[in-house]
Symmetry: C2
Subunit: 690 residues, 2 copies
Amino acid sequence: MSSRTPLTKAEKVAYALRHEKSYSWHKWFSVLAVLTIIVSLLTYYLFGMWTEPPPLPKLDLEQHWGPYPIDMKPDNSIRPFTIEFSDVIVNDLRERLLHRRSFTPPLENAGFTYGFNTHFLTQVLDFWQNKYNFKEREQFLNKYEHFVTNIQGLDIHYMHVKPKVPGNVTVVPLLLIHGWPGSIREFYEIIPKLTTPRPNQEFVFEVIAPSIPGFGFSQAPVRAGMGPIQVSVIFRNLMQRIGHDEYYVQGGDYGSAIGSVMATLFPENILGYHTNMPMVAVNTWVSIYTVLGSLWPNFIVEPSVQDRMYPLSKHIGKVIEETGYFHIQATKPDTVGIALSDSPAGLAAYILEKFSTWTNMENKKASDGALLQKFSLTHLLDNVMIYWASNTITSSMRHYVEGYKQLMFTDRIPTEVPTWGIKFKHEISFQPDSILKLKYKNYLHSSVVEDGGHFAAMELPDVLADDIFDAVHMFRTFHRKKRNNKASDKPITKESTKPDAETVNKVEKESKVNFETVNKVEKEPKVNFETAKTVYEFTVKDIQGQEVKLERYKGKVLIIVNVASHCGYTNSHYTELNELYEKYSKKGLRILAFPCNQFGGQEPGTLKEILQFTKEKKVKFDLFEKIEVNGENAHPLWKFLKRIQGGTLGDFIKWNFSKFIIDRNGVPVERFGPNTSPLELEPYLEKLLG
Amino acid sequence: MSSRTPLTKAEKVAYALRHEKSYSWHKWFSVLAVLTIIVSLLTYYLFGMWTEPPPLPKLDLEQHWGPYPIDMKPDNSIRPFTIEFSDVIVNDLRERLLHRRSFTPPLENAGFTYGFNTHFLTQVLDFWQNKYNFKEREQFLNKYEHFVTNIQGLDIHYMHVKPKVPGNVTVVPLLLIHGWPGSIREFYEIIPKLTTPRPNQEFVFEVIAPSIPGFGFSQAPVRAGMGPIQVSVIFRNLMQRIGHDEYYVQGGDYGSAIGSVMATLFPENILGYHTNMPMVAVNTWVSIYTVLGSLWPNFIVEPSVQDRMYPLSKHIGKVIEETGYFHIQATKPDTVGIALSDSPAGLAAYILEKFSTWTNMENKKASDGALLQKFSLTHLLDNVMIYWASNTITSSMRHYVEGYKQLMFTDRIPTEVPTWGIKFKHEISFQPDSILKLKYKNYLHSSVVEDGGHFAAMELPDVLADDIFDAVHMFRTFHRKKRNNKASDKPITKESTKPDAETVNKVEKESKVNFETVNKVEKEPKVNFETAKTVYEFTVKDIQGQEVKLERYKGKVLIIVNVASHCGYTNSHYTELNELYEKYSKKGLRILAFPCNQFGGQEPGTLKEILQFTKEKKVKFDLFEKIEVNGENAHPLWKFLKRIQGGTLGDFIKWNFSKFIIDRNGVPVERFGPNTSPLELEPYLEKLLG
C-alpha cells in the first residue's frame, strides 16, 4: 500500500489539527471553566455548601508536630543558628554534579516550553560545580542573625534583623514569610531596605523572617496535617516567643497564603497584612464575579489591568499549564521528592524553572528561560542550596496536600485586618480589588506595578520595600483613626495623627482594637446627598488619605474637577488650572482636584504615582484621593454636584476634567464639560469672586 | 497571651476541618465536575464545537522525525537488535544506588498515600543494587527476537515472535502496544500464551511488540508534535515494512490510546481492536451519559459494575488524586525528567508507584504499597531498567503534551473496526459499554473481570490471553459474516463459517472489506415482530455468537425461558428444566434458554462465564447469547413472544425464568411467570407432545 492511498479520516484529523480553530484546547477548557463557574452559582442554592462554618471547639494552639513522646521539660530557649555548607555536603554535591547523567536534549526550538531546557541547564550546573563559591555564600547567608527555637515540638528557624534607629523613629515588627520554591533567601536584598529608617517615615521595621516548617532550616512535622492553618499557629507562637503580640505580616506565594490565614485566625495579633500575591481561593462569589467580569469587565476590574484577567480563556489556559507541579505536589509529593532529593541537577531544574516562568511567562520562549535577565546564578543557587543542604524539598512540597483545600475553606471567612496588595505585572495570578474585598473587609489599596513577577522581593526589592512602607503607614493611620473614633467623637484632624513621641525607639505596641465595636463606631451618619444644601456638609480624603471636611473651604469660590494623568486634556487643563489658581487664589479661589480612573482608565496609578505626576506638573491647588464620580460607588460629594448641576445629556459625568463652580456659600452654580478649557471659566469666576 | 484566649474564628475552622462534612474536597470537586458536565451540554448548542471535523488535506504518512538533513538513501532494512546492560551502565547505576541520598522519612502511617514510601524504597534499591542479576536479566529480555528498522527517520525497535504451528492452524498478526510507564517488558509472560496454538482455536498469533518512539529502544523524535496520531502512522508503516497490511491490535494504557487511533485512522489495516483499558475521551455525549447515569445508573451501566463508576464524586476524586503525573508530564515533562534521568532511586519510585496504586487503589494504605503481592521485584526492575538503560524517561513523558488533546479530537470520530474490551476490577478508569459504543460502532463485547488492575499483561497474563483469543475469534466471525453477506444472500449457517483449509499455516490475509458497502448489505430486512406468525421467522445467536435460525426447531415443542446465574430461582429452575429435558426431549421437547441481565443484574458474567456456570449445572438444553427481553433493545423474538402471550400486569417480562411454551407449529401458546416451577408445566407439555 502506498502513501497515496486515500485516507479520509486521517486527512480530516490532520487538517483539523492544523487549521480548525475549535480544536484549541484553551478555548475548550475556558468555555468549560466559565460554565463551571456559572453552575457553581447553582451549587450555592442546591447544596447550601457555602453557608458560614458553624462556631465550634478550639484550634489546638499547642498541637505537637515532633516525634512522641513529648519532652515534658520543653526547651523554650532561643538559640543562635549558623547556616553551614559542610565539606561533606559540598564534596558530595560536586561529585554528583560531576557525574550527572547526559540529559535528554531539548526538542528543536522548544526553549523552556517543555520545561527546563537541558542545554542551558548544563551552564547552570557547570557554574554550580566550579564557580559557585560555597564558603563565600555561606558567609553571605549568615550575614543576618539566625536563631532556632522549639515550637510545638519542631525547631523553627528564623532570621531576626533589628534596625539601628535615631530617637524619633518607631520600630514596628514585621513578619516576612517566604514561599515555595523560595526560602529566606528571597529577603536578603529587601531586609536592609526595610530596616533602614527613611526620612519621610516615622517608623522602621524589625524583621522576623522564619523558615516555614519543613523548609530549609525549620524542622518538618513527622505526621500529616500541616497546612497554612497549622503554620499560622506555629508562627503566631513563634512571634509570641520572640515577644511580639502585635505585628505586621508580609508575604508572597505560600507566604501570602499563610499571612492571609493569620489575618483571618488571629486578627488580634495581626496589625496589617501586606501581600505581593493578593488572592482569594475560588468560591461561589469569586466565581460569579469572575464570570460577570468576562461579560462586563468594567464591572469588576479597572480597564488598565483588564488584560491581566481577561480573556478568561487565556488566563485559565495559563493556570492549567503552570499548575502541574501543584497537582503532583498536592497528591504524590514523596514520589517526586525522591528524585529531587537525590539529584542536584533535578532539584535545580525543578526550582529554577519557576524563577524563569513565574517571572514572566514569555520567558518560556527563550532557550535560557531569560533567567539571567533578572537574577544572577549565584543568587538563584543560594536558594537552591538551602533546599539541597537541608534536604527539605520533599517536606516543603508536602504542604500542598493540605494547602489549597484549607485555603478554599479559610478564604470564605472574612477578615477585618487592614490589607494592602501590590500587583506586579507578570504575577501568575491576578484578582481585582472587587474580588479581594469579598474577603478583606478592610482592603485599603492595591499598588499596580507595570513590571516584575512572582519573586518580587528578589527581582524588585526597592519597589516592594517602598510599597511595604506605604502600606504600613496606612495601616498605622487606620488604627489611629479607629482608636480616635473609639476614644471620642471629636472630628479627626491631621494633627491627631501625629506620632506619639513616647513610643519612639521601642517596639510599638499598638492598643488592641475590638473590631466589632470599632466597626459600629465607624459607621458615622453619612451625609445624604439628596438633601444636602452645600458642599460644606461633605467630607473627603486628601491624597495622603487624611479626612478633610469641606467646611474648611467656607467663604471661598471653588472649582471642583475630576482629573486624570493620561488624558488628552491633561496637559492643557493642568496648565490652565494652575494659571487660574495663581491669578485668583488670593481673591479666594480654591481648586479641588479629584483623580478618577473611570474614563478610559486614564488615572491608573497609585496615589503615590499621581502625587509624583502632579509634582512634575507643579500643581499648586488641592489634590484629593482617587474616587469614583459615576455609579453606585460615586463619592457623595459628586452625587450632590450632579444633583444640583445636571448635565446636558444626563447627569452623569462624561469624561475627565468636568468642572463645577461653587459660590462663596457652598452652592454649585455652574457646570462645564471637558471641552470647556479652564480659562473660559474666568468670566464666571470673576463675577463670583467680585 | 495564653492559649486559652477565645479564638472563635480559629475554633470554627478547627472544628469544621475535623467534622464538617461539606468540607470534603471530593464532594466539592465532584459537584462542580458533575455540573461542569451538565453545562458541556449547553456548550454543544451554544458553541457548535462538536460538529464533525470537515474532510480535508492529507495526513503526512512520511513525516520525518529524525534530525535534518534527511538521508536521501534511507536504510529500510530490518536489523537484529540485542538489549545490552553494559558494564559501564551497570557500574554507574550501582554507584548511584550506593551513594543515594538519605531520603525524607515517610509521615507517620502514611503508607503510599503521599507517594512512594521511602522506607520500602530502601528495600527496592538494596535489591536492585545487590541482588538484581543484570546479566541474567539481559539474557531473559533477549529471549525473544528483537529488531530495529528505520521508520520516518527514527530507529523503531520491536520484538517479533512467530508461533510454531501444526498444519491446520491459521497464524494471525497481532500488534501489541505497551503503555506508560510500561514497556515491552509488560508482554514477556503473555507472549508464549498468545503464540502457542490452543486445542479449541483454529488460529494463533504472530506477535509484533514495538517500543513506542521515545520509549526504551525506539528513538525519540527531535521535534515537538508526536502523540498517538503520529505513533499510529509510524506503527502502521512499521507493520507494512514487516509485511502486514491487515492485523489485530491490542493495548492497555497509552497502547490502548494508540490502538484506538489506529482503528480510527486506518480501518482498512486494523481487523480488530482489543483493549484492556476501554475508554473514550470526555466529550459532550460522554458527559451527558455520565451525568444521566449518576441520576439513573441503570440507564447506562449494568448494576453489577455500577460501583466502578458511581458515586461519581468518589471516582472523580480518585481521578484527580491519580493524575498529578499526567498534569506535569503534559506541561513540563523536561523539568521532571531531569531528576528522573539522573537518579535511579527517583526513577524507580516514580515508575513503581504506578505499579502499586494502579494495580489497586487500596494498595496505598500499605507501607510497601502491596507491590510484591502481584509482582516480583525482579520483574518490576526489568521494566525500570528499560527506562534507565535507554535513558528515555523524558522522551516517554513528552507524549503527554500531545496525548490527551489529540484523543479528545480523535475520540469524536467513530470507527467501524470491531472492538472488544476487557474490564479489570481495579483499572483506574471505567466506562460502560453504552459510552464506548458512542465511538466504537462495532463494540462487540466487554469482558468483566472481578480481579486485576492496570498492568493486566503482567498481573493476569492468562486471563488477558484467553480474552484476546476470544475477541479475535469474534473478530474473525464478524469479518466472515460480512464477507458472506457481501458474497451472497444465502442464509448463513454454521457450516459457512468453517475455516478455509487453504489459509492454514500462512499469515492470514483476510480480504479487504469495504465497510460502507458491508454496512448496507448487513441491513438485511429484519423480521417484524408485529406481523410475525411463528417463532420460526426469527434468527438468534447461540452462546458462541453463531447465528441460529429458529426454523431448525420446526415441528418441536419448545420452552423459551430467560435465565440468570445468580437468581433465587436459578437452582430449582435449572434442575427442573434439566429434568423436563431428559424426560421429554425424545418426544420432541426443546428448551431454549436466553441469559438476560435485566433483572437485579443477576446475569452479569461474560458469555464464557455463563457457559462455565451452565457446565457446572450440567445444562443439557440449548443456550443462547445474552439478550435483553424488555425495552427498546429487546430481542425481536421476545417482543414477538410478549405480543402473542401478554402478561397479567402488562406484557413486559417480570423477572428471570419467565417461560413460554411454543407448540409444534411455532406458535406461543402458554406463558408462565418465574413463580411457576418448570415441573408445573408438565400437563401442558404432555398435551402438546401428544
